[in-house]
Symmetry: D2
Subunit: 255 residues, 4 copies
């Protein structure tokens, strides 16, 4: 089955994107990324010490993945735009995940500022993936602004609480043409599988892998779960019913 994910002119086999925060060390991060088989990896530009290219985190990210720097730390469209340009100038490519966050408790994204940044950066040739609070109309605006995919949060970042905003994410999946990538909140492989069964194009996982007792094995688990969910989506899930439906014949056996 040929089932690639296409974003920004690239084609991917894996539908699991991973983040690089919260790992014990670079070695563990590297192994986890490898075992996740992820082809898109996000990294906060803040972590990259541009002045010391020999020491920085990028050296420990596998070379064959697509780097998706994020604008973590930005509190406005302007700051996000500056960070994006800085990332590009540093040789990190033209992909950018926009995060604009001014709420420090729940780390919720600001959809309006995010849309503004998306518009500017898309015009400059970036492949823009906005992180957003699930909202169909805001997602449509980001699409008009040139987004390459939409990344709604399932629950607050790092909460491991699952896809709490399912209602709106399902509507977005059903109504939008752009790939919908569920980002933030996914705490278990079963939740990643569920997002894929709903029809999400991909998921991004970081905390759930990095804070597991065994992050490297957990990365494998997420790889399998995302594949399972995608395959289920493509294979057409059976109908649910309120009553029972016998799997085995029930009557008359011993008559």
């Amino acid at each position: 089955m040929n089932d690639q994910l296409h974003i920004g002119g690239k084609a991917f086999e894996s539908r699991l994107f991973v983040g690089t925060g919260k790992f014990a060390d670079h070695k563990q991060m590297k192994e986890a990324i490898e075992q996740s088989r992820s082809e898109v990896v996000t990294v906060a530009l803040r972590r990259v010490d541009i002045r010391k290219p020999d020491e920085h985190i990028l050296n420990d990210i596998p070379q064959d993945v697509t780097l998706m720097p994020n604008t973590s730390g930005a509190r406005s469209a302007e700051e996000a735009i500056r960070i994006a340009r800085l990332a590009k100038a540093s040789g990190m490519g033209n992909w950018i995940k926009i995060e604009v966050i001014s709420d420090q408790k729940y780390l919720l994204p600001d959809n309006e500022e995010t849309t503004r940044a998306t518009e500017v950066l898309a015009k400059e040739g970036f492949v823009v993936l906005p992180y957003m609070s699930p909202d169909l109309m805001a997602a449509k605006r980001m699409q008009e602004a040139g987004a390459a995919a939409i990344m709604p949060l399932g629950a607050p970042i790092g909460s491991n609480r699952g896809i709490r905003m399912k209602e709106m994410i399902q509507i977005m999946i059903d109504e939008m043409e752009l790939p919908i990538i569920v980002d933030a909140g996914i705490g278990k492989p079963s939740e990643a599988a569920e997002a894929m069964e709903m029809g999400a194009s991909a998921v991004l996982v970081n905390t759930a892998i990095a804070t597991a007792d065994n992050p490297v094995e957990m990365a494998k688990a997420f790889d399998l779960a995302v594949k399972a969910g995608r395959l289920a989506y493509l294979s057409g899930l059976g109908p649910t019913s309120m009553r029972a439906n016998a799997s085995s014949p029930l009557t008359g056996f011993l008559k």
Copy 2:
């Protein structure tokens, strides 16, 4: 990682048990079983035409799996016992999944009759796996009666409604020594993964595979999901929190 499931003196790599009902034909069933990589397959004795060994369903079940005939159609302990003995006499081995059902609408098992049948058959040397309505005290009785594993339903048979009895199943997993195998109700790979993350020892899936648009591919999806859920359980899921927890550093970047 050595992580085998041990039941009735056998060891299994796969923790996905599958059923044989509702497939379009034997060929599809066979392929689905193969792709599921399942090592335990349940079949209603009723389906097996004992008089015509050349034609029956058993010919299309892979030879290397453990056959688990079930007593589907039994409405009492006595009927279940008769069916079990018949299965054994027909050369189907000494494993038996006990189903005693008198409710024809929701097909809910009768825990008391099931326990009675378990006791008789365990004494006769059967490896007994009782299908039951989730209830810790009933499960303990089945354990005392000699059950080799306990198979609580997640939701009514064939409903594809998921693990609706989660509360009690989690308690059973936490409190029982015997393997807990979630049977009935699982409609999606994500739900199978969830059962495994909860600590179930295995899951049994039939309707969700057989009624998918593509049962063979769906069987693969369940195989992956069960592996994902088991691996996640073994890898130690991270904690959930009400608030957000930054994956990426948030402050001071552009100062």
Copy 3:
């Protein structure tokens, strides 16, 4: 609207049963019972010091309610039967709520022992209300044994976790003729209302009232919620839909 609950030859206006445990003192308990407008109150015989009739808890339970002593502390049918007889002999009437619990962690009832006690006590003329782990077939056995109503748990006693066993309780409500009274687990008035909307005949609440910051006001809240849920059930809830349905006209206004 005449909508009384009939059990054991009595008719009740209120469908909220309350318990007497965990209150700060008898005065608070008494006020809470009064404000709950409950007409059926359960009390553990253990709390009643039979030798000192002047001091015991019964003096602080309003005179006009039906007393439903419970067999809390019983670990077998025999113990439950003894407690029931003792309660009757002490002048507490012929109602009895059977609790047979041997699991000390989750306090889950033992359906088989409970059914046995039900049978003996119903024959002796008790109005028997068995507390049970939700299970349709076990409930049918209790009905045959002479139960006057069935009291399935929503979640473990005192957990305030809500109606976690909804799937099976709904089936019991739909399939049984006897009144179904949801007992244990209800932690919020909204959950009591939900039980009533599902078609439960009544609910029993104790911990959620007694452990509130203000138990007397919380008792009022539960009274209102139970009335609301019952009224909603009788008024025929409207259908749910996946899509939106305009409440107000949407098109052409400003054309």
Copy 4:
């Protein structure tokens, strides 16, 4: 207990707002409003035939309620503003519920346009209550724009699906100073009670009342449920726990 809701300089006893759509006729609507004891009633200006004051819907809305005309039918801020002014000019007062909807399938509000309309109308002296897609940052913008309260949807209008966006609505309740009024989606009294237990300041219900078999009785049920939920919120809900907590003493009774 003095527990009034204050909005736009007015104080209300009832925290149930009701809508006027979908009733069988004006007589039924009038009775339902009366029985709901609601003090704030929303009406689509579109329904009001301004040229024929003798015949219009306003004659059947109780005189003592606060009228909250809504801008249903508006697809942009400009249209909403025009409708609001028209409502005021027609003598319907200075309250306005802003609805700006361009999505015709799920009828989801457009937060950006809604914020723009809020700003203009608040400056003109309107008491503005924006209907919105739950999003903390958008709500903060509406607050800055002069909103008097925020009305997030629980689920799509008329779906009767309950509070599906609970995660974000709870965050809004916790983080915002303005009253949060849950609007749209509430299908059952238990769900209205739940919104109030979460700390919502009020709920708006229309479809669930109007499409009940008996809308007048259902209006009563919602009145009771909202009071129950509010009272529970004020009375301090007890803690939930994973384990059981005995309501009655468990040990040693028969020793």
